[in-house]
Symmetry: C2
Subunit: 231 residues, 2 copies
């Protein structure tokens, strides 16, 4: 490969680079330029889908925000559906960036991590909005993010279930049905609070309410088995 | 008004009635026919918006499901935005239809009502889907349902706050910040569980998880003030 034209990792020349991007490409090599370009598009798509939803947000708008053409965006991501899935992965990575080894901790530390995430989220409404809109849109017929979200929730429920068991003494494990309810509820309350907070930021304290609810669910799953039957 | 042609309540002749609807109109009078027709459209719109979202669901599809024209739907509701708001009110009414005097109870009975609602919801995924999709879409820019949802959440949080105070002894009221957190969390966990359940009905027990979480939040707000600070 001797051509000076910027190429994507699969060797196809990129027709959509601006002059500045071409200069950057020459300075860092085509691979670095492509990676930067992809990240620009992912950020733009996250903003666009967050502001308008997936169906209502167009590739033309995603492209315009980064000074590219519609064809340029498709060159990097192939299709709007594919771009959505990459946006979802990109957003998920941002949740673990501040963690050691980018690994989510287990046991009680997992619940501290979730409360910390809510505190971070209170500073980044754009990312929260993207997630809230896309997760709910995913329940509509044939939405391209549906499998992704189903799998994500399954994995997270399992992570929380494992952490809850770790929190308990070995000779007094939690009720399995309570574990399922608690794991789903922890994720649910985080999601639901985000919607209320996005609609009414002065009325809802996202970080405090998340801490309160996770603590309440944790206490019931670990020590309050009796109470569910009473309600 | 002596004309035999069916008319809407504001006296405009309805151009979009099918022959069957015209016969029904003659039998019950134009007012009853119009009311039935409006309800048909509301049900159709609820299904359409639930299946596709508000932006992605078209008035043409709403009309087609009830054998009407696009113009006929607009004749009854004026605009797609207006139809959305009427759908939201219509859905809300279905939550209180089984209650005495259609009034939501206070005190501990409110929480029993919310758990009963979750049990009913587990039998009506269509209605749940409409609500889940529209409430999350409402956070997008300029969504016509935004004010309606903001107001709805404010009213419901106040209702829950009042009920929580009623549950407590007068000489030992709950912490005001806990009240706010608990009220938002009760609604949040109901909303969030619906999304997980819609994505994965075998994996999430909507009614049980809702009962578990509401019970946990209630216990913490009323008796567990100490715990929030510890997390």
């Amino acid at each position: 490969m001797t051509s000076k034209a910027p190429r994507s990792p699969d060797g196809v020349p990129d027709p959509a680079l601006t002059p500045a991007a071409r200069r950057r490409s020459r300075a860092h090599g085509p691979r670095a330029a492509t990676a930067e370009r992809r990240e620009d598009i992912l950020r733009s798509a996250m903003e666009t889908f967050g502001a308008r939803g997936y169906y209502n947000g167009s590739l033309a708008e995603v492209a315009e925000r980064v000074g590219m053409t519609h064809a340029g965006v498709l060159h990097h991501f192939g299709s709007k559906d594919r771009l959505l899935l990459e946006v979802l992965e990109y957003r998920d990575r941002s949740d673990v960036e501040h963690l050691e080894g980018r690994q989510v901790p287990g046991g009680l530390a997992l619940f501290h991590h979730l409360v910390t995430t809510a505190r971070l989220n209170a500073q980044r409404p754009g990312i929260v909005q993207t997630y809230a809109v896309l997760s709910a849109e995913a329940v509509t017929e044939n939405h391209p993010g549906q499998d992704w979200f189903r799998e994500r929730y399954r994995n997270l429920r399992e992570l929380i279930t494992t952490a809850l068991i770790e929190v308990c003494a070995e000779d007094d494990p939690p009720d399995p049905a309570d574990l399922d309810s608690a794991a789903a509820s922890v994720l649910a309350v985080m999601d639901g609070l985000q919607i209320q907070w996005l609609l009414d930021r002065d009325a809802v304290d996202l970080a405090r309410a998340t801490a309160f609810a996770i603590d309440a669910i944790l206490a019931s799953a670990v020590a309050g088995k009796r109470r569910v039957a009473a309600l």
